[in-house]
Amino acid sequence: MKISCLQENLARGLSTVGRAVAARSTLPVLSNILFETDEGRLRLAATNLEIGISSWIGARVEEEGRITVPARLLTEFVNSLPPAPIDIELAERTQTLNLKCARYEANIKGIDASEFPEVPTAETIGGRNNLHLEADNFRQMIEQAVFAAATDESRPILTGVLAKFHQGGLTLAAADGFRLAVTSADVGVDLDESAKVIIPARALSELARISDGEEDDIELIITPNRNQILFHLGNTDVVSQLIDGNFPDYNQIVPKAHSTRTILGTQDLLKAVKVAFLFARDAANIIRFNIVPGSELSPGQLVITGTSAEYGDNVSEIDASIEGEGIEIAFNARYMIDALTVVGTNEVALETSTASSPGVIRPVGGTDFLCVIMPMHITR
């Protein structure tokens, strides 16, 4: 292999694929990045066997070839180079990659590329259901769902995000044991049949990161046996395993009715919750909402309290427009902050019924999003 490319391009490519490199693996080759010439371009690829990322960068190819090199060393070396062309040459016999850039030169020992697992690309995956989604729109949906996915592995299904395609629309849903987020949008997809897949939340987070600033649509391919999904961007492919199983029926969890609807400024509420959180941190994050409907003379109010037995307490008041009866209810501040951060509208509605039934956060106007948060209790 003998190629040359620009330092900026190589650095960008390495940072794109770098997130898929396995952090700790019993298989040494997984902490490497694949270098491969591919039809006049350089393909970089990494995988941890759960997700895989391939990225193509422009290069002048004089001689074809492939090799894998340690990700961390290579990335840190390339990032330290000046913005200039890099000449890369592989010594086949010793499996050593030689890099020359301005007055810097390095030899990095690699592992034979035949030991590297095959990372499927849009061409090789052989899938169907090719769908096109607008990048910005899809990224916002991902942000509105992934935060609610479970981080611990007790129920593997819940570490994923349910993606449901239906008549022109897409719904994403995620839940851990205590909250649920659902977001839907009309994405103009034309599908004959509805399709449901569960995508690991981590793969979607990576996709959201990589697609930032992407102008083209994201093309989406699901393999025929429905065990992998591939997202094709301009120069990058992200492929992920799908999680097998049945996602809980979230429609049953979303309350059908409410007795109080409180409309608040999103930023006002977020700020007050964050302040209360400072005090609630060592009391299981519990913050109390006291919703007081207004009268003809005074506006309605939401009073938020955070209490620490050890350090003290805090009370904040926010004006709110309240329909229905007053109520006292407690939530985990962290769950509130997560939901309010992604709601994306200036005003937000909190729907509640009783102190022991779920609270629902919805945007006022804007996207079709909701977050169900289970309340906390004080046992007396």
């Binding site: 066997l49 095959e118 839940a175 044991g177 299981a284 289970m374 004080i378």
Partner: protein, 601 residues
């Protein structure tokens, strides 16, 4: 008071106390009689945990007409003729005390017909006296009905636990016999509901499925072949070991799940349970126990079962040999068969070339083998040396001085288990799990005393389907559980609905890879272990169990901030030096001690 002979009814009740402790003992004696009678089917029926009624029916040999009345006399048995038979016991019973003892403390009705007789005998015994005997039509076999157990012994009655708990004990008796005799069809009906049934097809594995369910049974490994003791005793092994043991991925919070049988007799033997547990050396997390069903077959002359009236304990002529045989057989099974632990349902590797999968397997196998050598290869001398060092270390390490801890500076973490810290008096080693347990315990206890325990509602309520034993434990502690932050409600017979959990369990990372259901089962198992009759202590014990579950585990890497936080919180504790279970949280090496060890003084 002059010395005199006790009247027979008093002596009878005293002797009965040794054999019949609780309803489960009655079931045990009657089921053993059925098995000794060569039954192919044993039906057990109980009401109100056996206190109201116990009925054991079989299709065995039956009792001939002329012997029926004698069956209830003390020391009357058909299983033994002279004292030399005691060395060759092949039946489960032999003392001739069971029926007499049961009859002394309850009302017994016996209906029995030997196959060759046309008419069965119906016999009613009250307070040890036969009150009626008559011929009556009956199916072949024997049905014994025991009613109003302990009604005439108020002292015993007082100590009976809740019917659910007693039913749980009976359930484990019946399932244990089903394990020992897979060829007999057992059924157990409690309050007119069938709670257990084995097929009687002779397959131990099928019985295991009936008891533990298919999911769990799939994680059991069959003990391979005859684990021989020593080759010295002729060609055939002195002790044959068979049964099933769990893979290292499956473990339980207590030892109740190690079930042992000697010559098909269910026994309790701490040293053999230990032999099983030791075979898992290094494979299970600390404080966890395997699930195992181990059957030993040996020459009856090698084992003395006539040690205790209930025959729960036995004595081996060569205990070490038996211990070794069990330990080796289990260990070999584990090393040869234990699969690579599965990572839940994490997506499988999709495209690893085959040779890598093989290589990884090999590595795992090597590691297992090495662990095996380590456990087996360390000889007694090493052990003694180790014990000595431990004792020396204990003598020298000062338990940390004043009650409160001084201000500490965190230095680092050792073995992902201990936090190393520095204070004005020298070095401190802190057990992260024990310390966190203490912190959570004091916080939760304070909340509990001020009635401020917080709980987090679950998104979906979890249904708990428990075995009768655990559902008994839950029933007993239901009110306490709800007071410490769980929200549980009965949901059918032995099921409960879990709607909320204490918020310290809901905190990030506290679940450590298990769902609410598994956590609940763990806590119930912890509760089951202790037998603390004081109700107010029970609630503290419950809080301790919750905190144990929620605390950071050994083996978890902590960030510098997390360690700092933990040490700060421990400093705030009322009694920071021990965990709620009494183990030390902190070891202290004084500056002088360090200087001395390094020869600076």
């Amino acid at each position: 008071m002059p010395i005199r002979l006790l009247p027979p009814d008093v002596a009878g009740k005293i002797a009965a106390g040794e054999v019949v402790e609780r309803p489960a003992s009655v079931v045990k004696e009657l089921v053993e009689n059925s098995i000794d009678a060569g039954a192919a089917e044993v039906r057990v029926e109980i009401r109100e945990g056996g206190q109201r009624l116990i009925r054991v029916g079989d299709n065995g040999r039956g009792i001939p007409e002329d012997e029926v009345a004698l069956a209830f006399a003390r020391h009357a048995t058909s299983k033994l003729t002279d004292v030399s038979d005691l060395d060759q016991i092949e039946t489960l019973g032999f003392r001739g005390e069971a029926l007499a003892s049961i009859a002394a403390v309850s009302q017994v009705t016996l209906l029995s017909r030997p196959r060759e007789q046309a008419v069965g005998q119906h016999l009613r015994v009250e307070g040890g006296q036969v009150v009626r005997q008559e011929g009556r039509g009956s199916p072949a076999g024997t049905v014994v009905t025991v009613e109003h157990l302990f009604r005439n012994v108020p002292a015993r009655l007082k100590f009976l636990r809740q019917p659910q708990t007693e039913a749980g004990h009976i359930h484990s008796i019946v399932t244990n016999y089903a394990l020992a005799y897979p060829g007999i069809r057992f059924s157990l009906t409690s309050d007119e509901r069938l709670v257990f049934q084995s097929s009687g097809n002779g397959q131990l594995y099928d019985v295991l499925i009936a008891i533990y369910g298919l999911d769990l049974a799939e994680q059991l490994l069959e003990i391979e072949g005859a684990g021989n003791g020593q080759e010295t005793e002729a060609s055939h092994p002195a002790v044959a070991v068979s049964g099933f043991v769990s893979t290292p991925a499956l473990h339980r919070a207590n030892r109740r799940y190690i079930t042992l049988f000697v010559n098909r007799r269910w026994i309790q033997d701490n040293s053999l349970s230990h032999a099983v547990a030791q075979a898992y050396h290094g494979m299970l997390p600390v404080g966890r126990h395997p699930l195992a069903v181990v059957l030993l077959d040996m020459d009856p002359t090698e084992v003395d079962v006539n040690v205790h009236p209930t025959k729960r304990e036995v004595r081996f002529r060569n205990g070490r040999l038996v211990f070794g045989a069990v330990q080796r057989a289990v260990r070999r099974t584990l090393v040869e068969q234990a699969p690579v632990p599965s990572l839940g349902q994490r997506p499988q590797s999709w495209i690893v070339p085959d040779q890598f999968a093989a290589a990884r397997d090999w590595q795992r196998r090597q590691a297992l083998m090495a662990a095996g050598r380590d456990a087996a290869g360390r000889d007694a001398a090493d052990d003694a040396q180790l014990a000595l060092e431990l004792r020396r270390a204990q003598g020298e390490l000062q338990p940390v001085g004043p009650v409160r801890l001084p201000l500490l500076r965190v230095v680092g973490q050792v073995g992902q288990t201990y936090v190393v810290a520095e204070g004005p008096q020298g070095m401190y080693l802190i057990d992260q799990h024990a310390a966190h347990e203490r912190v959570l315990y004091e916080r939760m206890l304070a909340d509990h005393n001020e009635q401020e325990v917080t709980s987090q509602t679950l998104l979906e309520p979890a249904t708990l389907d428990l075995d009768p034993m655990l559902s008994g434990v839950l029933g007993e502690h239901l009110a306490s559980l709800n007071r410490v932050g769980f929200a549980l409600e009965p949901f059918g017979r032995s099921s409960y609905l879990l709607r909320a959990i204490p918020s310290i369990l809901a905190a990030q990372g506290a679940m450590a890879g298990s769902d609410a259901r598994e956590i609940m089962v763990d806590i119930l198992e912890m509760l089951q272990q202790g037998d603390d009759p004081l109700a107010d202590r029970a609630e503290e014990r419950l809080i301790a169990a919750v905190c144990k579950r929620a605390a950071v585990k050994a083996g978890q890497t902590l960030s510098a901030e997390e360690m700092q936080q933990l040490v700060r919180q421990l400093e705030q504790c009322e009694s920071p030096r021990t965990c709620p279970h009494g183990r030390p949280t902190v070891l202290h090496f004084s500056a002088q001690q360090l200087e001395k060890e390094f020869g600076r003084r």
